[in-house]
Symmetry: C2
Subunit: 371 residues, 2 copies
Amino acid sequence: MVQAVSAPGVIDLGPGYLEPSLLPVDEVLTLYAEALTEFGPAALTYGANAGAEPLRALLAARNGCTAEETMVTAGTSQALALLCTVLGRPGRSVVVERTSYDLGRRIMTDHGLRLREADGDGEGMRPQALDRALSHSDVAFVYLTPTFHNPTGTVAGESRRRKLLAVAARRGVPIVEDDAYTELSLDGTAPPPSLAVLARRRGVIRLGSFAKTLGPGLRLGWLEAEPDLIKRLTGRGQLVSGGALNHLTSLAVTMLMGDFRYDRRLARLREQLRVRRDALVSALQAVMDDSVTVNRPSGGFFVWLTFDPQRSEASLLAAASRAGVAVAPGSRFGSEAGTHLRLAYSFNSPDRLAAAAARLAAAWRNEETPR
Amino acid sequence: MVQAVSAPGVIDLGPGYLEPSLLPVDEVLTLYAEALTEFGPAALTYGANAGAEPLRALLAARNGCTAEETMVTAGTSQALALLCTVLGRPGRSVVVERTSYDLGRRIMTDHGLRLREADGDGEGMRPQALDRALSHSDVAFVYLTPTFHNPTGTVAGESRRRKLLAVAARRGVPIVEDDAYTELSLDGTAPPPSLAVLARRRGVIRLGSFAKTLGPGLRLGWLEAEPDLIKRLTGRGQLVSGGALNHLTSLAVTMLMGDFRYDRRLARLREQLRVRRDALVSALQAVMDDSVTVNRPSGGFFVWLTFDPQRSEASLLAAASRAGVAVAPGSRFGSEAGTHLRLAYSFNSPDRLAAAAARLAAAWRNEETPR
């Protein structure tokens, strides 16, 4: 009935999901009750094409823009698919980081767009690499995740962000900023301002989501862009016909964002994720030998492991699987040289995360010998 | 906050919406409570790509197909947009009835598809016209509404349906059957079997919706097709990434469909719509002169008026507006020769519908003289 169901006994560090106990079941029910009471039948009819004004206004205030620069989406993946049909067309290309979110890539190739991979470093895409990629005239847009990158966990600093913006602006190509994890900073310091804020949304389309903060089953997110593009997007037949995406749900979330409850929820969730990240990272650092580099992300859901390039991803995965731990292969996220694995700390309790680290260390130590 | 807001004093026969009093606010709240209680956190996580199995199973049983032939959608408009990207590509064409749903047309042209219009009659598209249109090799699919057509209200008989199916099958072109109104038969007799049932879904994709029976704000519908196409659709990156469309809402509707409540809701709604249709049609027939033909639809939301072709749509609309009645111009739905208007009986009480008919008759009588 749901996407990821782990085999019994397996500790699943694969999916970028919240652990079921972190999903706010009772709170969500309260929100629907409040929205249906507050808005009555207006919550069940066709919503305004760009989304319900109360939510747009709250999102705009939170994100430092205007309601005219904000529309409601059915999540980041729906927003990206919509952008592929509006900004792109089959045969054109998108510039992506060489290592980047696999399903974001797939959404773009589904729409007939080709991927031009640009090299990155510890801050994500390098400006020179972007500039080279943009020398091709067929680029529809650039797809970036500068904050708590999936899968690498990297964060681009403000200076890097400004350089990337300058390159894209000079070339006249828009940037789609996938910012699903930005609220989940785990060390008490906010990440640098989004590309959208730095550029005052000129040439930047920012995708936000409630999937990582409330629950993906709500299928709710938003998009920030220049008002002209918002008008083009909300003028699409699908929205004029069906009205706002997830109108009732957007009103339920309006009730949450309209008072202190959303910030309280985020504060609690950050603490729950921080404890999980620390449990996994500490355990990994304690048990892994020098052949593995463990990053310590400052936010998001993922630890990115870097192995000696001679080690085989397939045999690391197989050994993990035999030890009862599921992880995500780095190759799924692109063609970066080297051997990598992605471990999510969002989907298990701290105890299970520590146990997973011990299992992995033992498995990989044993796996090395007979190779 | 919502799509259609009428000016004070205006009786709005324009939009194909349910009247607010017909939207089941309390019942929907109960359904969300039941779903969150029954499924807990599983209702808030990523749902299975094709939609939650319990709903797929209930839909399949109701529609005479299998769960493998069924996927959950975010409504007919989302489903049609998805099909445009999977079955079509910019530059190809779609065959549509010359008079057909304006926003369905727009969703297709938004995706770069060109429209090939085929002539119709009192049963919708004519098979010979379809055959002629399909002699072009660039047709991606045929878009049809054989049951309670929007805007004309027509129903294709079973023989007509079989002929259209035979033509499309011979040409090897799939049919998209927009079947949003099919549950809303108003005279106690079911419409003929859907194209999907007649063809056992071979080459037919049927779009269903809860927008007309429960509430469009839920943004929930479904799609029936051959299992291979369902696999292609649910394998799109958008669904693999975001999971099922409107997972939580689909579980809420599962609670409704899982017992007698959905049928009870439909029975009540059909009666409420029947009273409204009769109020509008009787009043129109009583007050209109011979220059206007009033159809009496056997289901759906709309009365289709046919005027003397010499009469100007613009002046009929203007006179209606001066009299405080909003209606939809026939020209919005395509290029059918003649003068037509579409009147929705779904969005107002029987008393207001009768009052609207009287206002329109007076307005159009007066409008004729000074012309």
